[in-house]
Amino acid sequence: MEKKRDSEFVLKKEFLNLCEQLIDQITVAKGFLDLNDERDNYFTKATRREILRMEDLLKEFIKKILESERV
């Protein structure tokens, strides 16, 4: 039982680490999009909107992991 809980804990830590790496990549993608000269372009705006949606989903996922036991 203890062993199972330990492996779940390790797994949650690994999930969290992967989520943080994804957050980094979203930050970079959104940042470069904001740096470009065509930020008012329809497709740029649409891409930004979709990136923000990914960002929200990831935040929600991280929140759920943190809410779960022992993380």
């Binding site: 790496q21 957050i23 959104k30 940042g31 991280i62 943190l66």
Partner: protein, 131 residues
């Protein structure tokens, strides 16, 4: 808005994408920039280039951001440090702020305007302290 063009900013992050984004952003705003990919390199570059401020990632392999902040503050207590923290580390960062290690803290995913605003904030603070 106070923008001192000669200010040199040291960027410390293990993610090459973040380093590249911050470098592009800050140079486009007229800042001089040095980059380091880990804590050890950050301390070495800090002593070589004496930056006006440090943009520091909290979650790095080896020395993490808080360890780096403690080292830098021990040799330069007035150095402004802007910590960029991971989304899941809010509590640890709060404790570091209470210890007075950080001038400003941002959480990933950050917006590029937040970076510029935080630099303006610390440089305006520096200016008002010298008046």
């Amino acid at each position: 808005m106070i923008l001192l063009l000669s200010d040199l900013i040291l960027i410390v992050d293990d993610n090459p994408g973040i380093r590249s984004l911050l470098k592009e952003l800050l140079t486009s705003k007229g800042y001089r920039v040095e980059v380091a990919q880990n804590g050890e390199e950050a301390i070495e570059k800090f002593h070589k280039c004496e930056p006006s401020a440090v943009l520091l990632d909290s979650m790095m392999p080896g020395m993490n951001g808080l360890m780096v902040a403690e080292k830098l503050k021990s040799s330069s207590p007035k150095l402004p440090i802007i910590m960029i923290s991971a989304y899941s580390e809010k509590e640890e960062i709060k404790r570091a702020q209470q210890k007075g290690l950080l001038s400003y803290c941002l959480t990933k995913p950050f917006d590029i305007n937040e970076i510029i605003d935080s630099l303006h904030y610390i440089f305006e603070l520096r200016l008002s302290n010298t008046m």
